[in-house]
Symmetry: C2
Subunit: 191 residues, 2 copies
DNA sequence: TGTACATCAGTGAACGCGCGTTCACTGATGTAC
DNA sequence: TGTACATCAGTGAACGCGCGTTCACTGATGTAC
């Protein structure tokens, strides 16, 4: 795959650096060095570091959606099976790619949300969650209440586990899994 | 309060910088400059930037717990009223201090979790949530399932709202509030 | 088929920047006697 | 009460570092004629 464009290879290098050394190590120069190119080369493909990061996040959302879809397909075709599969993939991705996951949902957002590639890939990931929640009745009068509930729950659990915050709440052993928590919600499907 | 110690004033300055200019602006030199002291002075009080950040986070957890307790006291003395009050305070703090909130739960953790001040203040904040969830039956066989459920839910909602991720799920108007979502859970109290 | 020219990705050197850190110093404060 | 001394918080200058960015350049590729 040496015919990959330099832009693509820089994004791949950025994903690897993020995985191995974390966000602070993610610089234009480090990506260029990993690809084996001069540190001035990335300027021909990205508008600064924020442009590269936007590309990395877009690629990250693709991998994220792939992971969720994979676990959804391996799950029972029932409504609860499908939403559990999506959420299991959500949790799995956050554990396998902690720095990338944190960057993708980064609050301090140095990211260009109008970037078309970002918009498309993040919309696909959200769509998977949305569709998995569609069979359920809203838990409040808000039409989107169930998906906001499920999304907040899985996202909060993933974030707290990554930060190891939950350890303070673990009297004995592991915290409940997302599967157990979703079961505990007793969501009702549309009649 | 000019008799405040320089250590305290540096932490206060750091909280202000975080609030006004975000995490990237938080440096030893910026804190020293805001206090009006030479940039070498902080070295007498903190072991580098990470030491200062640890102090800022500890102070942040105190403010966080104060906010939650304030809203809890203003709420009805019922189990649902109390846990809703805590969670409303949780959401309010995340909106009033977004950069600080993000730093406190930062995954890439350059923080020393063994710092006694951090341990004490974060434990107090967690204790408020724990106590508010105590009246409820666990939603799964895990004894802490309800507090993990509530914590994940409120933390996820706060984080997603800060990152504006939820906007993609808002067909019409605002997302459901944490109060509505907690109501929708129909948690059962201990008999 | 061959020639002249335009385009453009990548080079390598140089730049200025803000950062944390070091270090000899100063001057105030407290303590021993 | 007075003197000598130790402690220590803050100073200001200097350091090296990695960063993003700029810029003249080279060399390959494609195109017009």
């Amino acid at each position: 795959m040496t015919q990959d464009t330099l832009r693509t290879r820089l994004i791949t290098a950025g994903l690897e650096i993020l995985q191995e050394n974390g966000l602070n190590a993610l610089t234009l120069r480090a990506c260029a060095a990993r690809v084996g190119v001069s540190h001035a080369a990335p300027a021909h493909h990205f508008s600064g570091l924020s442009g590269l990061i936007t590309g990395i996040i877009a690629k990250g959302f693709t991998q994220f959606a792939d992971t969720m879809e994979e676990d959804r397909k391996a799950a029972p075709p029932t409504p609860l099976g499908q939403v559990t599969g999506i959420c299991t993939g959500y949790m799995r991705f956050s554990k396998e790619h902690p720095a990338l996951f944190a960057l993708m949902f980064n609050t301090s957002g140095e990211i260009d949300k109008t970037d078309p590639e970002f918009a498309a890939t993040s919309a696909r990931a959200y769509g998977l969650l949305h569709d998995a929640c569609a069979p359920y009745l809203p838990v409040t009068e808000h039409p989107n209440a169930t998906e906001v509930l499920v999304w907040s729950l899985v996202h909060g659990l993933a974030t707290l586990q990554l930060g190891e915050s939950l350890k303070v709440a673990e009297d004995n052993g592991n915290p409940p899994t997302i599967e157990e928590l979703l079961n505990g919600l007793s969501l009702k499907v549309h009649p």
